[in-house]
Symmetry: C2
Subunit: 323 residues, 2 copies
């Protein structure tokens, strides 16, 4: 479902503003190739609509939402912006079918899928006139995306917060390899938080960027204020890729993560790790602000973020002419 097929695009009223020289902007009909990651517990309608209103692409993170909550966020987002926005759906989500039906019924036109096989939902989404972008962490999977017919790919490196690839390929190494392996419109993610890293990603061959951490910590994010304050205080080197035996996840160091790191250093097995992790730790940390016992999913670039800021502040910085 590439634009060349000349299907009527649901956001065509917005065409007059879109940047037609950039593949990513043309695809989503947006002004700047800046996508806000659809992060669990952070990315509700408030964040997504603020990003879309400034000419980027806001994403609602379905991964942490009950289906009814998602429907509410989509409706509120539509009330808050007349510009394109999308929904991020982790495919390992247990109620993914319900989620997808809500997305279709609510006429969302942009879906980002992650953590699963791009073949699973791409055709179904395309039949309902929905653009599909899939998140990968290796060039091998970007080729699978192309074979599955997705419209664009997010290549996310080792620096990213939360769930992460097994191969630990950094964004700097990943983007040129994905660019070489597949011809899909390419969005770089992982470690991108500033004008400099945005421009570096473009130099690497990406056509756009997905920014998670910086948006997770801004005013419009639905994360708990204590989580934001703590993450903004993190120094360089204070996040760590952990849980590699289950599913690699980047966490900020706190009591829980330090205990986990020690257990991992001692070589504990998968079952023991699962016990240690328990259930609902991400919600506890990110949404409820339990800084000791929560799993504080955040990217490596947290080390360079210290100010409290709004989405508008972030866009002004990313798009500034200052050297």
């Amino acid at each position: 479902m590439r634009m060349s097929k000349k299907k009527k695009h649901p956001h065509s009223y917005y065409l007059y503003r879109m940047n037609t020289t950039n593949t990513i902007c043309r695809l989503y009909e947006i002004q700047h190739p800046i996508i806000q990651g659809g992060m669990a517990w952070c990315s509700g309608w408030r964040l997504a609509s603020a990003v879309s209103n400034l000419g980027g692409l806001g994403l609602i993170g379905a991964g942490s939402m009950h289906p009814d909550t998602l429907r509410e966020h989509i409706q509120k987002c539509r009330n808050a912006t007349d510009r394109p926005f999308g929904v991020n759906v982790p495919l390992m989500y247990p109620r993914v079918e319900e989620i997808m039906h809500i997305i279709r019924d609510e006429k969302v036109r942009i879906v980002f899928t992650s953590a699963g096989n791009p073949r699973l939902w791409t055709d179904w989404l395309h039949r309902h006139n929905i653009l599909v972008t899939h998140v990968v962490s290796s060039s091998r999977f970007s080729v699978k995306c192309q074979e599955a017919g997705v419209d664009a790919v997010v290549a996310e490196g080792f620096e990213a917060g939360g769930h992460n690839g097994r191969e630990e390929t950094s964004t700097l190494c990943l983007i040129p390899q994905v660019r070489e392996a597949c011809s899909l419109p390419l969005i770089a993610a992982g470690g991108i938080s500033s004008k400099n890293s945005y421009h570096a990603a473009l130099a690497l061959g990406a056509e756009g960027v997905q920014i998670g951490t910086r948006f997770a910590l801004c005013r419009e994010s639905s994360a708990h204020p204590d989580f934001k304050t703590y993450c903004r205080s993190l120094q360089e080197g204070m996040t760590k890729l952990m849980l590699k035996k289950i599913s690699p996840t980047r966490l900020a160091l706190n009591d829980f993560a330090t205990r986990l790191a020690q257990a991992e250093d001692n070589g504990v097995g998968i079952d023991e790790l699962r016990d240690l992790l328990g259930k609902g730790r991400a919600k506890k940390g990110i949404f409820e602000g339990d800084l000791k016992e929560g799993a504080l999913e955040i990217g490596q670039s947290a080390g360079s973020i210290s100010k409290e800021e709004s989405v508008q502040d972030i866009f002004e910085d990313l798009l500034s002419d200052k050297p």
Copy 2:
């Protein structure tokens, strides 16, 4: 010993060619801000002089050399190029004092120090009119470098081959933070292997790049041909940061590294790891070409290198106008 002090520079006959708009080029009096990493077992006079002859800065890697061997390489390098070149000295090297005296006696004017405290040798080197560049993996250490009075800093990210930082900060996240923390001329390293990543590093705020892996695998490198062939065949994700309990080191996966990874997964302690590592594994792998039992130190960007090429091919690629 910054150039502003107007000391007579030993390479001033070369001034006519240097790029005067770039801080790194002005500092070393070179044409392109491209430094070839001074890598153990790879960086002899042949590689260093080839890089210097093309307008970059070649470095001889003293880390793997007997002092007499180093003297021979310096003399041969001087015979092979009339342009500036330097020596990389890991400060944990047991015979570092002998090495430094040879560097002084042979009138080498550029030294890169790594793996140690920048205070140790900077003043002594400056007294002998030698420029000092120190390698760091965190912005905290870049500040220590500035305090120690070094002339420039190499900030090397998680992607780099061989010895690596403990904090696992990627080059993309590291460079802007070092740029923010210190005002020294800044060279980016780790994961830089192509024109794209070279330009990305400049976008991040570096003034130059140090390239290791790509030069380690080229024709002029003194590494064993089998090591080069094997590393050029590596797919994405086939290097791994290991030995974190001793000194984090990025290795290509082979029989030895797989055994090591299993031991680490099982949580073995430092003593057992040291036994497993033994002595001389890097020489065995890189210089003697023992692909099974050697420690194959190489960077993450090996995944994107597949062609056999010369230093000239690399420079043509890095400096090409092609998009």
